[in-house]
């Protein structure tokens, strides 16, 4: 029980402009559940990607020892061959394939070079039994909920004879029942001798299940604590994770809230391909100079709500009314939304926010080309001047606006996206996970920018899954659960617990109340 299965020694990993991991040491005992805690951007996921070979040997410094043998994984295939399997936060299942097909994807059960479907389905059924999922192996994965998909991922890992299972925030998108089920399963796997590393933000969960916990902050291991120790409480973990006064993580601001600028009423959005609603009868409003938060778990419909408002960029059969300064506005296209004074900063800046192969200059002006052009002709000099202006005011750390955006760090990329939207001179800014994947220093800068926007009288909506962030910067917080607005709290009254409660109200429960 006490022998060490995994040792990571002196792991250092750099991304351009950011040192994500600094000389990290991690030791995991055989057959334990080892939790890794840390704020978003602390380097947890990066560490696990180093371990599983997503970042190949050579792209980082340091050593990985598995059973005292040094490992040099050059891909996930290599690590899986050693029984190290990672389940990512974003599930990697193919929705159009069946459960069995997904379980054996890349690892097909063959006889004589052809896939033996009978055998594959039978084996899949056994694996599903082991994870406690009662589904037919030929069911399409797309028809199952997130909780069940998570179990399929675990079944997939089991099919690879896993010895060390890594789960990256496995319960983030799950409701309480599904989470409980998953944790039970992990205990069961532990009793079968499988070692687990679990990354989680849910401290209650960690206290409940982990044997030891490693706390990472800003790319450094703060400490590893034995959870059997009576001193290992949630408070101790929080202290280690934050490592400084909570008050100083967010810049000071005295809100000056004006009249209502933007309001959405009875907003309903249907899934683009499936016959279900993603957002149901949601209503919210935001005032001038106010920062309003929308809290919701993954899959609650946060992004869907924002994107459907922003020029119907998501979903179908959208109904509801949007009001700008009391008057209804049609926001039928992105163009109309921009003209009305809306801006939407996407949660996924690489996919939806930036043209990574172009320079800062073209990205900054992409949404507001009309402001620097006359009758379709771009004023090249003015464009450079505008971009240079944002580079300086936003403190984008690069010598010239001709720099290709793909070469910038996450924080600087996010500043480019913000510049792009500020250049459209919006009145209402919807910021979807504005600090995702950004290091702590840059986060502070982004918060400062958000505060400045509010102080300039803009109406700001921040969507985030990080509750401390919402509590730290918002004036008012709405909660979204399963596509419905379940509550609204002034930030001064809100606590993480209270918000979490509202964020997990299920439809049926609400109907009973």
């Amino acid at each position: 029980m006490s022998s060490t299965i995994l040792e990571m020694q002196g792991i250092t990993k750099n991304f351009p402009g950011v040192k994500v991991l600094k000389d990290v040491n991690l030791a995991v005992r055989s057959g334990e559940i080892h939790a890794i805690c840390g704020e978003n951007g602390a380097g947890k996921s990066t560490l696990m990607k180093v371990l599983s070979g997503v970042y190949p040997h050579g792209s980082y410094e340091g050593k990985i020892l598995l059973d005292d043998r040094e490992m040099r994984f050059s891909s996930i295939k290599d690590s899986e061959a050693e029984g190290v399997v990672i389940i990512h936060q974003e599930l990697a299942l193919v929705p159009h394939l069946s459960v069995a097909e997904n379980i054996f994807l890349g690892n097909e059960v063959t006889s004589g070079g052809l896939i033996d479907w009978h055998k594959a389905n039978a084996q899949a059924a056994t694996l599903l039994e082991r994870v406690g999922l009662h589904e037919n192996p030929v069911t399409l994965v797309g028809h199952l909920g997130v909780g069940k998909q998570q179990l399929i991922e675990i079944a997939k890992a089991l099919s690879k004879d896993v010895r060390l299972l890594i789960l990256d925030e496995p319960t983030a998108a799950l409701n309480d029942t599904d989470s409980e089920h998953l944790l039970d399963l992990l205990r069961q796997l532990r009793s079968q001798g499988i070692t687990c590393i679990i990354i989680s933000h849910k401290l209650g969960e960690i206290e409940n299940i982990a044997d030891s916990t490693t706390i990472i902050r800003d790319g450094i291991v703060v400490e590893t604590i034995d959870m059997a120790d009576p001193g290992s409480t949630q408070d101790r973990i929080i202290r280690g994770m934050v490592g400084r006064d909570l008050e100083h993580r967010f810049p000071e601001r005295t809100p000056k809230i004006g009249a209502e600028v933007f309001r959405v009423e009875n907003w309903t959005v249907h899934h683009p391909t499936q016959p279900r609603t993603v957002v149901e009868n949601a209503s919210f409003g935001v005032n001038a100079g106010e920062i309003v938060g929308i809290a919701g778990l993954m899959g609650a419909g946060r992004t869907e709500l924002a994107m459907s408002i922003f020029g119907r960029s998501y979903g179908r059969d959208i109904s509801g009314t949007a009001y700008l300064r009391g008057a209804p506005v049609p926001l039928r296209t992105v163009d109309e939304a921009i003209a009305a004074g809306l801006a939407y900063v996407s949660e996924d800046r690489k996919r939806y926010g930036l043209n990574l192969i172009q320079d800062i200059r073209t990205n900054v002006t992409a949404s507001g080309l009309g402001r620097i052009s006359k009758r379709g002709w771009i004023n090249g000099n003015e464009e450079i001047e505008v971009a240079e202006g944002y580079r300086r005011s936003m403190n984008i750390k690069t010598p010239t606006v001709m720099q290709i955006v793909g070469n910038l760090s996450g924080g600087n990329q996010q500043k480019v996206v913000l510049s792009k939207w500020l250049h459209t001179a919006p009145e209402v800014l919807i910021l979807d996970e504005p600090t995702r994947g950004i290091d702590v220093g840059a986060k502070y800068e982004i918060y400062t920018i958000i505060n400045q926007l509010a102080d300039a009288g803009k109406a700001v909506v921040v969507i985030s899954s990080e509750l401390p962030e919402l509590l730290g910067i918002c004036d008012r917080i709405y909660t979204l659960a399963y596509g419905r607005m379940t509550g609204q709290l002034p930030a001064s009254d809100a606590t993480q617990e209270r918000l979490m409660e509202l964020m997990t109200i299920e439809k049926t429960k609400e109907a009973v109340r």
Binding site: A366, G376, W377, G380
Partner: protein
């Protein structure tokens, strides 16, 4: 920075864009040597321009299509169709030459609207739409021509691609007008380069060193004047070269200086991001194909003029030459990257190779094999460069 270090930096950092120019110079030198200088003879240079102008015209439209992440496989068929319609109007019905040209352009526009509709508004991939168009418009060409060739065109029509401006300002066997135009082009180039350099300096943007800047302009001046000199003591300035120069200039400006051009790059670079930035993707895609259709019409008119008639099989494989020109010129297969100048040099690489091999009497089969290999190597080089750039990160 010293001039040498500067030059080295320019080559290594911009290998992707400068590589094509180096390759072009190498190919010209190679074939000049292989053909004992025949390649650069005045008559041959004139022929080169006449023979490959329509591929360059098509590449101008194609590069925009490719930057936006699409492809157009139908342009060969459209060249045939537009030429055929023009021939029917002029030869069979006796309309004046300019009606024929207008008819070709109109048909090109209609074809572009057809493709644009399916690609932009129905959402079918351009590969499929234009593959269908390739068959469809070839079939229509056969219908229009009743499966037979039509010729000859009246003399004015032939002038479009076969005519020259010669003797306008006199000269003793050396057309002064051609030389003057060449000189004007050099001065205009130098002036615009100087202005953009001055503007960049004013905004404290990095620029190349003065030495390199002057060297670049001198090199361009020498090439242009040598080219003009050779043309001047052959048959003068080909009209088609004027058409081509105007088009290249126009599209260079459209891709680099207009909102439309910027939107094309945005769509090809990251489609969802472009959509969420307020780019009217459907409209832009529609106009991209309208433009491609119009240029196919221009190429159709030029080609029918040069071949002095319309044939059912005209323009066969033109699409591949145009596409190859773009990719050799550094365009990315995934969209978002590409330049008009690159596509033009890419087209010239193909032209010089074909022409050089024809002069050497290399059999058609070998020519095709070599062209195919060059395309493959060019794109492999591009991918290698991308990976290298990625590794640096």
């Amino acid at each position: 920075m010293s001039a040498v270090a500067d030059l080295k930096d320019l080559f290594t950092r911009n290998l992707r864009t400068s590589g094509i120019y180096i390759a072009f110079v190498a190919i010209v030198l190679l074939f000049t040597w292989l053909t004992d200088g025949m390649l650069l003879q005045p008559t041959n240079l004139t022929n080169l321009v006449l023979q490959f102008s329509y591929v360059l015209i098509l590449a101008l439209g194609m590069i925009i299509v490719i930057i936006a992440g699409h492809i157009d496989l139908s342009v060969g068929s459209v060249v045939a169709l537009t030429g055929a319609v023009s021939a029917v109007v002029v030869i069979r019905h006796g309309a004046p030459w300019w009606v024929g040209i207008l008819a070709a352009l109109a048909v090109g526009l209609l074809v572009g609207a057809w493709h644009g509709f399916w690609v932009a508004y129905v959402g079918i991939p351009a590969f499929i739409v234009t593959l269908a168009g390739m068959l469809l418009f070839r079939g229509l060409t056969l219908r229009v021509l009743n499966n037979v060739s039509l010729s000859p065109f009246p003399r004015e029509y032939q002038q479009v691609a076969g005519g020259f401006i010669n003797g306008l300002l006199g000269g003793n066997g050396y057309d002064v007008f051609t030389l003057v135009i060449g000189a004007v082009a050099v001065v205009a180039f130098a002036y615009s380069q100087w202005r953009s350099r001055a503007a960049r300096l004013a905004y404290k943007q990095p620029v190349e060193s003065m030495g390199l800047f002057v060297a670049k302009i001198v090199a361009v001046a020498i090439v242009v004047m040598a080219f003009a000199w050779q043309l001047a003591h052959s048959r003068g300035l080909p009209i088609v070269l004027i058409i081509l120069a105007v088009l290249i200039l126009t599209y260079q400006v459209v891709t680099t200086r207009t909102v439309f051009g910027r939107h094309v790059y945005a769509i090809g670079g990251n489609l969802p991001a472009a959509q969420l930035s307020g780019v009217k993707v459907k409209k832009v895609n529609f106009w991209i194909f309208i433009n491609m259709g119009l240029l196919s019409g221009v190429a159709g008119a030029v080609f029918s003029s040069r071949s002095n008639g319309a044939q059912p099989g005209a323009g066969n494989m033109f699409e591949l030459d145009a596409i190859a020109a773009c990719f050799i010129g550094g365009a990315s297969t995934t969209g978002g990257v590409g330049r008009v100048t690159g596509a033009m040099v890419g087209g010239l690489v193909m032209a010089v190779m074909s022409n050089g091999m024809q002069l050497m009497g290399v059999p058609q089969s070998t020519q095709q094999i070599i062209k195919g290999l060059v395309l493959l190597v060019a794109v492999a080089f591009d991918i290698y460069n991308k990976r290298r750039a990625g590794a640096v990160r």
